[in-house]
């Protein structure tokens, strides 16, 4: 009898230990998850306000885009669903949908037959309004970096000029690829128009010293004042390609390509989104 008692005791104690562990972890998860989401939201808002230079009283609308895979076997039933809600609001979002060719279609969220497969996320962007007018856009993008994906935000003025680029998440090597996540590299994009960016390339030539010094100042000076002070320099550099980080050409090219693709995609989709956002309540 003794060996069997032993086995039962051991099994019981191991099960208790595992169960207790899982219970503790569940509790910690629930507690921290809420906090983490709140912190992330605050970060997002802070980044948007800073990138676009928004004042108090600005409204930011968050737009999430996803692909409804539609009915299996009928690719024509696929649709792109947009959900718009004020940033930080947890209420029901406003939803509108388009077929893949840009024709508005009814949103079929509730229909059982359609909601077979989960929608795949396609994009995430923020539209800012201040004083009754558009104040800019912030679009999230992803690019494949040296080892892992790089997640970044591109801020655009209402005239589709780049207001700023911020790398949000990356796992590049410090001193090399991680340099693309510094203001010194990101600020090279500031002021370029969407058309400039469509042709943007990356060069391995070293950055001219005066341009480097001017970029370092951009961190401390408000953009309009900076633009006025360095107008000639801006004129000269605007037509030039992005200067890659020494030893990190792959990461530099990845981020530049990502910014280019993100702006291109956003411009094409904005034509569809804009009337919906303004027309609706």
């Amino acid at each position: 009898m003794k060996p069997r008692d032993e086995v039962i005791r051991i099994t019981a104690s191991m099960t208790v230990a595992c169960a207790a562990g899982a219970a503790i972890l569940g509790a910690v998860y629930v507690a921290t998850d809420r906090y983490q989401r709140a912190a992330q939201l605050a970060d997002e808002r802070g980044a948007i306000v800073e990138l676009l230079g928004l004042g108090p009283g600005a409204e930011v609308t968050e737009v999430r885009q996803s692909l409804d895979p539609g009915v299996a076997g009928q690719p024509a039933t696929r649709a792109v669903i947009y959900e718009a809600r004020p940033l930080g609001d947890h209420g029901a979002p406003r939803r509108f949908a388009f077929s893949l060719d840009g024709v508005p279609v009814p949103v079929a969220g509730a229909a059982g037959a359609r909601a077979q497969r989960a929608p795949e996320p396609l994009g995430h962007l923020f539209v800012a309004r201040q004083g009754g007018r558009e104040a800019g856009f912030v679009v999230e993008g992803m690019a494949q970096g040296y080892k892992n994906p790089i997640r970044f935000l591109v801020a655009l003025t209402p005239a589709f000029e780049i207001a700023g680029v911020r790398v949000v998440e990356h796992q590049e090597d410090p001193g090399l690829g991680a340099e693309v996540a510094t203001r010194g590299f990101e600020d090279q994009f500031v002021g370029r128009t969407a058309d400039d960016v469509a042709r943007l390339d990356v060069t391995r030539d070293p950055m001219p010293e005066d341009w480097h010094a001017a970029l370092l100042q951009l961190e401390r000076t408000p953009p309009p004042a900076w633009r006025a002070a360095h107008a000639a320099l801006l004129e000269r550099e605007r037509g030039r390609p992005i200067y890659a980080v020494t030893g990190a050409t792959i990461s530099s090219r990845a981020l530049t390509g990502g910014v280019r693709a993100t702006i291109d995609h956003f411009r094409r989709r904005w034509a569809l989104i804009q009337p919906q956002l303004e027309g609706g309540s």
């Binding site: 003794k2 060996p3 069997r4 032993e6 086995v7 051991i10 595992c18 562990g21 899982a22 972890l25 569940g26 910690v28 998860y29 692909l67 299996a72 076997g73 009928q74 690719p75 024509a76 696929r78 792109v80 388009f98 893949l100 840009g102 396609l122 040296y146 080892k147 792959i250 995609h265 094409r268 989709r269």
Partner: protein, 341 residues
């Protein structure tokens, strides 16, 4: 001293069969994932009618600065003007990429060739995923590198470019302990590769079919280390009962594997990247091969260093670390290696 019930041969055999079946099942799933989805979206024809054309495969080719999409069909199709083709990035299906020209392969006419070459208006990335829709007849296909190319690419990446020891600095404790002699290094490398593949696939199965649906992702660490400990214990017991001689040789390595960082890192990485079965298998195989390679190289070098005159303060571990540093420098040469360009 209380005796734990001695496991019977049948019980051990059953457990071993279960473990192998799990690995085999994942292999089957991986193989299924290797078949590209092709033309299954077209409606099935009535019996007796000629079979409609299907897209057998499509991929991107790049030569010089030009990118082309090569499409293999089961039979030629009639309508081959660019407007009949809709080509988009998989991640942006609502933004079509303009197709400029459709040619047949090797100079044949496009409507008489089962292999078409599409020229598009922008440069494409051969390792990215795209989607091709043909409007008439209604066909759809994924444009992506072949599953085998992807498989090889992940193996290459985890074995050489992002070698777990020299680029990701994982598994160092065992690494320095075992790499003193070539024999032990090879033994450990082989054992590790085997355990890595089984653990990796079992963890993937658990993650995909148990933890994700039940929203138990926060139990990752607990479950993965449990799988490792369980498998190692199982293998140890099986080996002791069935092949005593083999157990003499490899038993000690098995026990050491439990505290190896890599064996835990691979399932964690797969979970974080939401990898499919093929990718997970590739990562497990590649990391096993990379670790074995690193061990072998290191043991060769260390055997030599044993015979050299090393300053007393540097003897033992410090010089081994310096050696590892030199290897890490050498492995940096693999960076930028890309199977697709």
């Amino acid at each position: 001293m209380a005796r734990i019930l001695v496991p019977t041969r049948r019980g051990i055999a059953l457990a071993a069969i279960l473990a192998l079946a799990a690995a085999g099942l994942s292999g089957v799933l991986a193989a299924r994932g290797a078949v590209p989805s092709a033309g299954r979206m077209s409606a099935s024809p009535p019996r007796g009618a000629p079979r409609p054309p299907r897209i057998l495969g499509a991929w991107v080719e790049r030569s010089g600065g030009e990118s082309r999409v090569v499409v293999r069909l089961s039979t030629p199709i009639e309508r081959v003007e660019p407007a009949n083709f809709r080509f988009t990035e998989a991640a942006a299906p609502d933004l079509p990429i303009v197709v400029r020209e459709v040619r047949g392969a090797r100079g044949a006419a496009a409507n008489a060739s089962a292999r078409l070459i599409l020229t598009v208006a922008q440069p494409l990335d051969p390792s990215a995923r795209y989607r091709l829709d043909i409007l008439e007849p209604a066909l759809a296909g994924e444009v992506r590198p072949s599953a085998w190319a992807l498989f090889l690419a992940v193996i290459l990446s985890s074995a050489l470019i992002n070698n777990f020891v020299f680029t990701r600095y994982l598994g160092l404790c065992i690494f320095f302990g075992v790499s003193k002699k070539r024999e032990t290094a090879l033994g450990m490398g082989a054992t590790f590769a085997f355990v890595m593949v089984t653990t990796g696939m079992l963890s993937w199965l658990l993650y995909e079919f148990v933890m994700k649906p039940l929203h138990l992702r926060f139990l990752q660490v607990l479950v993965f280390i449990g799988v490792v400990a369980f498998l190692v214990q199982l293998l140890d017991t099986v080996l002791k009962k069935t092949h005593g001689a083999l157990h003499e040789k490899f038993g000690i390595y098995l026990v050491l594997i439990t505290t190896n960082c890599i064996i835990l890192a691979v399932p964690l990485l797969n979970a974080a990247a939401d990898a499919g079965p093929l990718e997970s298998l590739a990562l497990a195989m590649g990391s096993g091969a990379g670790f074995a390679l690193a061990l072998f190289l290191m043991s060769c070098a260390r055997e030599r260093v044993e015979l050299a005159r090393v300053p007393p303060a540097l003897q033992g571990l410090p010089i081994a670390f310096a050696l590892a540093g030199l290897f890490a420098l050498a492995f940096m040469g693999f960076s930028g290696l890309n199977l697709f360009r």
